[in-house]
Subunit: 479 residues, 2 copies
């Protein structure tokens, strides 16, 4: 699909200013000529992420290499009222990296250094521009484990992961990004440089600026260094795929597995159409798909003692058998494991390849998953949309992909949001929220009133104003 | 020791007002006559915590039972410029609960209900006034595990734990309070009631108000309900006590245990005098203390499979033997385990019983522990103080108890802070900070400049002002 016709005029609010020639000269002095671009292609490449089909063109794209350069850029942009949007790998699904007000995009890809691997303290200090999987591989070579692996890990940046508080399959055992960030170096809107915390596992010293920054989607400051805590790399993993006769029985089995005392390192749910599309997209069929299989759970356990993992798998098998499952498939070797994970990881791309879609990142207490799934289908029937659901069932985090199919422009652009709203109202009613790991960005902020009261929203606006009084950092996002 | 002569005049700042008769009438209407007290003993009991020998008398003590009552109290106190300090179990070691500006103390002990145990989702919703150990026992009966167990768990309240971001021995494996809080109900300074998040394991929806509130020591709002995530209760624990010929070799062994791939569920360090004093205080000698034993590590592993725990213990034994240790003592039965834990848990009381002391809650990356310990002793030699050190070595969290001994008033009150400052400067220089789990409260705020820059402090002041524009909530704390 040619995206160019969808490019939107960036909507510069009154207060923001265009980037003047004088400012361009200053920026070139800061970065060096070749690291500032007004090229059409470069602007386009940095004007979209993976959110639907949205593109907003920035005026200028900067490629800094140091914290000091970013600080210098922010100082002059703040002075001159230039909107600034930071960009990582561009894998975002909520439009967090879209420069919707134009202005400057700061692309982080040159800031990709591993600053220090502290093997003695199980910590690593990195710049935000490193690809998450590359970082994980570098650490694995030293026996160190950074467990957070969003599906996009092969191309998303660790900085983007921090900014969205990303999760991924292993969050169910190891937690999300916020549980692994110890300390952050941040450039504030006015160019000031701070560290948010300390390089320690515990910290009760003042307000938790670190956690305030994690997940703030570049609206409070620009993360320029990240200190992550690490663990010893678990030497053993076992993986199993379990088919179920109904999506609801698969979801019901999820809570039961935890109640049996097992905490898997991944517990992924896929509806039948998700796994079918993924098989077709990947072009591999690692397991036979039977007619009666309506959903699958991909279940991994990991650790250091194989015997206890086998015991866990036995417990899991006994549990799932109570939920109308088909034959449990154990991945016997690394090739089979890779093939199964490839299916799950490619489900989003398979959907994208099939249809224009909107992805909703619903999250509920995990026992509520079956009801959430039922609600999604009921709302779909009411508004006439099909959906493909998969996600991190162990966390209650269900990705609802709403397919455009034959929906008219009118329904797609205007009516659909009412259906999404109904799903979110249900999510809120059972203690859930509207984003588990993707963030709010640009496309979800219209729904924030469902989960936050006016008072809560006012507090968030106050925090934004405190950190960024002129509102230049990633404007029009979240709030 | 008679504390009465140490009672300080509460230092009411100019802006704050005394509680008028009219206000007293309103408060009585809100709470009921018997739940508002101006009694001298009640005021005294609510005027100190476990911090040194400090007492500040509040004007009035309130004992609310509901969120709505607290909201109503805050509305009128905010209006009338009355300082309000919330009080939990009173086990604080940084003076967080001291009503240093007088005014109203809100004592949480009647808000001690378990609102809802959600066994299906492994969550519990509680009021802040429940004693942490009581909550743990209630949950354990249902096979559920809330792992955060500060040494004070037998009398500290869960609300206080949240407000200080408490830790305890098991934080090394399970994390601190912040890693277990999903959602908080909070009464703001003006009486507004908010919820900070959602009851989900993941949340990327707006700014993380939950984590901003955890550890804020009652300066940003009053926590009135807490949603905690739970885990299945680990059925097996193994405990060992390892003596070392030097405190430094004990510290050095700590990092090596993790490097060998084992994550103990507790890894506690005690200097010789700490264990000696604890043995004397408790009146039990579960293990013989040899002359050459200069320090001990108490090491616990837990899980569901005994075999793999034995394997972990074997690995640990091999590691510690490389660090000049004495004979490793395995606790064979529950009585022995209880006796060993009793020693560790009573170390603070043993010190308190022995001398007036100041407790510093230093935390560093754990490999730096030996250097920290050396620095403490060097600074002690320079300023003429003895110290007893113990703590959560697995987290790099060393409690430094500075004994008053024969120090003159002049040295104790004025000179000593210079020595503490030297220790904290070292801590900061190796990436550590000045409180790992006790908080800053009243007595540590003078050292905040060591770990935070003026810009960082200004951000924290801005957050305080946003949440509490009149500064009535726990005034003169942290900042």
């Amino acid at each position: 699909m040619d995206k160019s016709f969808l490019i939107m005029e960036s909507r510069k609010s009154n207060a923001f200013q265009p980037i003047s020639d004088a400012l361009m000269i200053q920026m070139r002095q800061i970065l060096g000529e070749q690291y500032l671009s007004v090229d059409e292609t470069v602007r386009h490449d940095n004007g979209h992420d993976e959110t639907e089909d949205l593109v907003f063109l920035p005026e200028v794209v900067a490629f800094p290499e140091t914290t000091e350069q970013i600080s210098a850029l922010m100082r002059i942009c703040n002075e001159a009222f230039i909107p600034v949007t930071v960009r990582g790998g561009g894998s975002g699904l909520a439009g967090g990296a879209l420069p919707v007000e134009g202005g400057l995009v700061i692309a982080m890809k040159r800031m990709d250094k591993v600053v220090h691997i502290d093997e003695r303290n199980f910590q690593v200090t990195v710049e935000p521009g490193i690809i998450t999987e590359n970082l994980q591989n570098i650490l694995k070579d030293k026996g160190l484990f950074y467990p957070v692996d969003p599906s996009s890990k092969g191309w998303s940046f660790i900085g983007g992961n921090v900014n969205t508080n990303a999760g991924g399959p292993r969050a169910v055992k190891y937690g999300v990004v916020k549980d692994h960030v110890l300390n952050l170096q941040v450039v504030l809107a006015n160019g000031d440089i701070i560290w948010t915390g300390s390089n320690t596992l515990k910290n009760s010293t003042g307000y938790n600026l670190t956690q305030l920054m994690v997940g703030s989607e570049g609206t409070l400051g620009i993360v320029t260094q990240i200190v992550l805590k690490l663990q010893p790399y678990p030497s053993q993993q076992l993986l199993m795929l379990v088919p179920f006769r109904s999506a609801e029985s698969a979801c019901a089995a999820v809570a039961a597995i935890f109640q049996a005392g097992v905490t898997p390192s991944a517990l992924e749910f896929m509806e039948r159409n998700a796994i079918e599309w993924a098989i077709r997209y990947v072009g591999e069929t690692p397991v036979p798909l039977n007619d009666e299989d309506q959903a699958h759970l991909l279940i991994e356990v990991d650790g250091f003692h194989l015997e206890s993992l086998y015991a866990d798998c036995e417990t899991i098998t006994k549990v799932v058998e109570q939920f109308d499952c088909g034959e449990v498939f154990f991945a016997d070797n690394d090739a089979q494991k890779t093939a199964l994970w490839k299916l799950r990881r490619n489900a989003p791309q398979a959907v994208k390849n099939n249809s224009i879609y909107k992805e909703e990142d619903t999250v509920v207490p995990r026992y509520e998953l079956p009801r959430l799934l039922r609600t999604v289908k009921e709302v779909g029937a009411k508004y006439g949309f099909e959906s493909v659901c998969y996600g991190h069932a162990g966390d209650g985090n269900l990705h609802v992909n709403i397919l455009r199919g034959n929906l008219s422009d009118e329904v797609w652009n205007n009516e659909l949001s009412k259906g999404i709203r109904e799903i979110f109202v249900f999510v809120k009613s059972v203690g859930g929220t509207i984003s588990g790991e993707h963030g709010i960005g640009w496309v979800q902020r219209q729904y924030m009133d469902i989960v936050f009261s006016p008072i809560e929203m006012e507090l968030m606006r106050g925090i934004k104003h405190l950190f960024d009084p002129k509102g230049i950092l990633n404007p029009s996002k979240i709030l």
